[in-house]
């Protein structure tokens, strides 16, 4: 076979491979395209309102003294950048309902302790909990059950404390659309279960996504670089919002007692 001929055959073969690749690529695209389904009417209960009562005047923001925050990397960010210096933080990167029991965290003036030791040795007026995003890969019902158990154990260790369950913050659209596990529908589904635990007497549900979301309900891309965590400059607004919301709750409780 002459060189000229073999060159031609080789080029032909290569373009044949291209044809196969294009066909496979098209097939894959079709396979991944979501099937269009008719919208199904579901019986999903709507989220309870964050605030049980509307007050005529905004209540004074609550102080964060005698307060404990428990949570994952977002709570770590809150401890570092939200200027909530009076509060204690039991948080670390990757914390979840599955490992919070084993975690040991350094608390100023207390030392390195487990959550159980901390709750036994201190008395808090308010405890904020934000967990759930690191657990999204686990079986859903199992996670919800573990979350319930955690809230119950906090309640039994600190019966005097108000418990604020924080909704997990959303991720950006870019992540939500591409991550099969950590995406906003999954976050909302878990948050909805969390919100059901609020009795609005001693356990409250706070959803700070309103501070960080874009109009479509995803973490605003301008407020995050890694599509998951808010930028540090956004944390003070979250801290202020928490103080305001807590102030409203305290005013409501005082009103209810009066």
């Amino acid at each position: 076979m002459t060189l000229k001929k073999s060159n031609g055959i080789l080029i032909l073969l290569l373009f044949l491979v291209l044809l196969v690749t294009t066909t496979v690529s098209e097939f894959r695209k079709q396979l991944h395209e979501p099937a269009v389904e008719a919208p199904v009417q579901t019986d999903v209960p709507t989220l309870p309102e964050t605030m049980p009562m509307e007050t005529a005047e905004p209540a004074a923001p609550a102080s964060m003294e005698n307060t404990l925050f428990i949570g994952d990397s977002r709570t770590v960010g809150l401890s570092e950048y939200a200027k909530l210096d009076e509060a204690d933080f039991f948080s670390n990167v990757g914390m979840s309902v599955y490992n919070v029991g084993e975690a040991r965290v350094s608390i100023p003036e207390v030392g390195k302790v487990s959550l159980e030791e901390l709750l036994e040795g201190s008395s808090y007026d308010r405890i904020y909990l934000m967990l759930g995003i690191n657990e999204l890969g686990y079986p859903f019902r199992q996670t919800v059950a573990r979350y319930d158990e955690l809230v119950a154990s906090i309640r039994s260790a600190q019966p005097q404390a108000l418990i604020f369950l924080q909704a997990n913050l959303h991720v950006t659209k870019a992540r939500s659309d591409t991550d099969e596990i950590i995406n906003n529908p999954a976050i909302d589904r878990f948050n909805q279960e969390v919100s059901k635990l609020a009795d609005e007497k001693t356990v409250f549900y706070l959803d700070a996504n309103c501070i960080f979301d874009d109009p479509a309900g995803n973490l605003d891309e301008e407020k995050s670089d890694d599509d998951t965590h808010p930028l540090a400059r956004c944390y003070p607004a979250w801290g202020n919002w928490l103080a305001e919301q807590t102030g409203e709750v305290l005013a409501y409780l005082q009103g209810a007692i009066a």
Partner: protein, 445 residues
Amino acid sequence: MVFSSLPFLFVFLPVFFLFYYAAPRRLKNYVLLFGSVIFYAVGTMDHPEHLALLLLAMVVDFYTAIGMERFTRFRKFLFAASLLYHLFWLVFYKSAHTMVLPAGISFYSFQGISYLADVYRKKYPAEQSFLHLSCYIMMFPQLIAGPIVVYPQVCRALHRRKHHPEQIMRGLGTFVFGLGMKVLLANQLGGLWRDAKAIGFDSLSTPLAWMAILAYSFQLYFDFFGYSLMAMGLGRMMGFRFPKNFDHPYLSLTMTEFWRRWHITLGSWFREYVYIPLGGSRAGKLCTFRNLLIVWTLTGLWHGFGLPFLLWGLSLFVLIALEKLLYGKTLSRKAILGHLYMLFCIPLSWVLFSCESVSQASVLFSRLFAVNGVFPSFSGDYIKYFGIYGKYLVLGFLFSTYLPYNLLKSIRNRYVLAAFLLLIYGASVYCLWRGLNDPFLYFRF
């Protein structure tokens, strides 16, 4: 497909080399070519037009070179047309920020251009075998991120090469060492840079800002150096000797020297195919500076069409011009002064390179130079992050020197060396399995 990925390490590589070594000598180049096509096709599965573009580029290179020899009257026209063809696609994709850049386009276009320019200048005759030319352009070890090989460097091996077990083992060792550099060093250092970006540059303390840009500097080096070592190792396993791409660049005393030791094959390409054809430094000082300005503008644009890359290229031109005019010789003579100067210049030069916009770069500059105070918010940030990443920064400094490499070379006992490389391999695979992986930084160019 990424070299430092489990599918590459555990599926592609073993299957490819099984076929490659089992194939008779005359078929080895076919295995190499079709293996490379599969490598590229799998990696660009969502964009089959990228494979089409690559195949077309090879056909254009092959027949233009033959045409330039056969139709001497149209030599100039054919060369200009093929050059424009390559530049068109480069500019088209690099300027369209919304489109996915075809993997390796910056690298394979430059290899094609160098081949065409050499045939045009009659440095060597046009290759008559499409198999050999396509292997040169497409062989998977150097397809995606170089080294930018020129044809004479592989031409002989493409026609005839030997496969000594000793060379194969050496190649494998180089590959594993490069893998470790990428996974165990670059990716870990990249964590600090990623964290700094997640915090937001405006909230970094000045010490953390310096740590972050140092981490980026090391990440970029070990990422690209690691990739180049892997490419060289794979090439050697098949009997090819690729030119080296890095020569301890962070030990340079001047920016001029740095760019002779960093991404060497890109620097050589610009010298050979732009700087010297423009007259180099032979036509007087003014022309030299004009030529340098052109080369550095093009170097900036080669990396990306955004303003940050253009400014980055121009800032390198300014530094190199200043060194030529004023203090270059002094720095080269006084090593301590040179190292201090580069310790400052290297991380700063990467600021524009690393940022997506000039405004983001200016925020980082403002934190590096403590505009608005040293600690804007969380004053303990640098202690926290040094605790996490300090060891990797120390390793970064260490692996920028000759010490670890000389130590490795001094190991004479094969078994000790094999055990050491096995350890690196095991640790790398473990990190990949745990998902502590990042794509290569140089894949976006």
